[in-house]
Amino acid sequence: MCAIAGICDALNAPVSVPLLKEMIGILRHRGPDEWGIHTGVGIGLANARLSIIDVNRGHQPLCNEDGSLWITFNGEIFNYLELRKELISRGHIFSTHSDTEVILHLYEEKGEDCFRDLNGQWGLAIWDARERKLLLSRDRMGVRPVFYTQVGESLIFGSEIKALFTHPQVGRELDLAGLDQIFTFWCTLPPCTIFKNIFELPPGHTLVFARGSLEIHPYWHLNFNRPPEILSDDHYIEQLVALLTDAVRVRLRSDVPVGAYLSGGLDSTVITALTNQFSGKRLRSFSVAFTSEDHDERTYQHEAVRFLHTTHEQMECGYDDIAAAFPDVIWHTEKPLIRTAPTPLYLLSQQVHDAGYKVVLTGEGADEILGGYDIYKEAKIRRFLGALPNSPRRAQLLRRLYPYQSNLQKMPDAYLQRFFRARAEDVKDPLFSHMPRWELTSRLKMFFSDDVKSELAGHDAISELFGQLPLEYFSWDGFAQAQYLETEYLLPGYILSSQGDRVALAHAVEARHPFLDYRLVEFASALPPRLKMKALNEKYILKCAFGHLLPLTILQRPKQPYRSPEGRCFFAGSGEDYVAQALAPERIAADGIFDPWAVSKLIEKFRAGDAVGVKDDMALIGILSTQLVLDQFISHFQRGGSLCNEHMQNCAVS
C-alpha cells in the first residue's frame, strides 16, 4: 500500500523534482517505508511505499524492460500470481516478484483493457512514453482514491487532495455544490469534491491524458440485472462459500503478517473464521471498545475471540479521545463529516501500527452487497405499510427496525406511523429507500448562511444524483435500487473513504475487504432478494452459509450498526479549545458558510445538555468538521514537511 502523485505536462515542460518530493512528502503517512521519483520529458511520477509484497525489490516507480512504460501504484492486485504465470507463459520477463510489475506487463499485453483482468484495490498511474499518454485507474469499488486537477497544460494527480494543494498553482477554494452534496448524502458525487476544480476519479474508471486532452471511461459498473433463477438455494449457498473463501485466500497474499478487525458483528467474525482456516498461526485481531455502554460491543468481541482463539487487542475509546483526535481525522478525510464514526477507527489504526501490523482484513462491504443495512429493512417495512397505510398491526413492525434507538421505542404509535408514512405515490419513487435519510440530512442546511443559501438556490443535490443513475436502474426491484444507492455512493464516498482508506492509512495500515471482491459483488448483485433479506432476517444467505463457523450468540444477536458517541464528546469536561475557536460567532461570520446566530443557539443547546436529537448531533459535527476543513485546507494550509527521514530507505530519483 502506498501513495501516488505526479504531474504530466502536455507541452513537455520539465517537472520539478523538489515539487514532486513535496507532493509525495505530504502523503508519507500512507507509505512510510521508502519513496521514489521518476521524471522524464513532460512527466513526473512519485511514490511513497508501504512495503508489503516483494519488500526488497518492489521499489517504485517501476518500469518495464526497455523503460518505455512507468508505473506508480497504490494498492494490491490479489490475483497477481495467476496473472504473472500467464504472462510468463506468453514470454514476459519479470525482474521482481511484485504485483506492481504484473500490471505493467499486462498493460503491454492488453492496453487499457488490462484493468478488467485485475482483482484488487488500486489507484495507479501508468506513463506510456511511446504514446506520450498518461493513464490513471481506480479499482471497481473505490477502495483506493485518485484525485486530479488541471492547471494550464498540466494534469496533476495524487492519492489525496493535499498532494495537489502543495502545487503552487493549484487553487484552494470550497465548492458549495460539494458541500451541498455532503449535507445531503454524507459524501460528494464523483467527480465532484468539496473543493472547486479538484476532481475525484470515479471508482471503476480510467482516465487518459494524451496530447492535452482528457478522457474518462468506465471499465466496469455495478448492476443488478438478475438472470432467471435456475439454481436451488443450496447451490447459491455453495457458490457464496466458494467465492468468499477464495476472496479471503487471495487477500492473505502478503510478505508481512496479516491481522483482522474483529468488531463482534457477523461480518468480521465470518472473515476471521475463514482466515483461521488458512493460517497455521494464531491470528492477531483488533477492535474498538467504547466507554459509552450504548455503543460498546466488547461482550460480543470477547465471545468471538474466545471462539476463534485469536490474540486480541482492544482499543478503549472515550468521549475525550474522540474530541482530541477529531481535527487530525479531518486532515485525513479531507471532507466534512456528519458523524464521528471514522475517529475511533483512526485511533485503532494507530494501535495496529504500533503492534507492528501493516495489513488487516475487515468485514466491510457485506451489509451493502448482501442486504444487511437497516435502511433496506426500513424501506421494506415502509413499502409494506404503504400498501395498507392505516393498519396498526403493520405499524408495529416499525418498532423492530431500530431496537437500539430508545427514543424511537418510546414513540407513540400514531407518530411512528406518521414518521415512516409511505403514501402510494412515495412507494413509486425510484429513490424511495433513501429519501427519509437524505431529507433528514438536508434539514441541516437550515444552518447555512443566507449568502450560501442564495448561492445554492436552484441547486438540488438529489436531482444531480438522479441524473447520474443508469437507465437500467429503473428496471430493478426496490431492494436492488436501495442496494445500488448504498453501494454506488455511500460505500466509496464515506464507508471506504472517510471511515476506511483515510483513517487506516493515516497510520500506514492497509485494510483488505474480502466481501468487496468483484467476483463476489457480481454474484451477490444477481442473487434473488429473498436470499439477502428473508422477511426481516438480514444477510440470510450469509448466516446459512457460515453459521456453523460462528458462536451462536453472534449468529443470533440483533444487528447493531457501528456507531460512536456524537456531539456531546465536544462538550465533555472543559471541552477542547479548538471547538470554541472553530465555532466562535466571529469566526463563523468571517468564514461565511454558516449562520452565526443559529450555530450559537445550537451550541447553547449542547451546553445546557438539551441537545439530545440526532439532528443536533449531525448539525454540530457537520458544522465543526466544515470549519476544520476551511481552516486546515484553505485558510492555513501547511505544505509538506521533509520527505526523507531515518526510517525511510531506498529513496531514489531516476
Binding site: 427514543n407 407518530y415 437550515m446 450555530v599 443557539k601 438539551d610 439532528k615
Partner: protein, 97 residues
C-alpha cells in the same frame, strides 16, 4: 391564549429552528415542515410538562394534539383547565357567569 401562543412559538423557534424564525403559520403542521423528529417529540413533551406543570398522558400523544402552534396551544389550555383545582371561589365564578 395569546401568551401561550407566543411561548410555544419561542420554544419551537429556539429549539427546533435554532433561532431562525422562518415565518411558519400557527396552523402549519410540524410534521409536514419536518421540524420535529422522534427526539423532538420527547423534547416537546418535556417542555410542556415542565413549563406548564401539566401531565401529558400516553393517550394524548397524537398529532391532532401536538402538531401545530394552534393545536398545542389549545391542548395546553385544555390540560390546564382540567387540572385546575375546584375551589368555592371558582364554582361561584362559574355560576356567576
Amino acid at each position: 391564549m395569546q401568551r401561550t401562543h407566543a411561548e410555544l412559538r419561542r420554544f419551537i423557534t429556539n429549539n427546533f429552528l435554532y433561532g431562525r424564525n422562518c415565518g411558519f403559520r400557527d396552523d402549519e403542521s410540524f410534521l409536514e415542515m419536518g421540524i420535529i423528529d422522534s427526539t423532538g417529540l420527547l423534547e416537546l413533551i418535556n417542555f410542556l410538562e415542565k413549563h406548564y406543570h401539566i401531565k401529558v398522558e400516553d393517550a394524548d400523544l397524537i398529532p391532532e394534539n401536538l402538531d401545530s402552534i394552534d393545536q398545542l396551544s389549545q391542548f395546553v389550555e385544555r390540560k390546564i383547565e382540567s387540572h385546575r383545582p375546584t375551589t368555592v371561589a371558582s364554582v361561584l365564578e362559574t355560576q356567576a357567569i
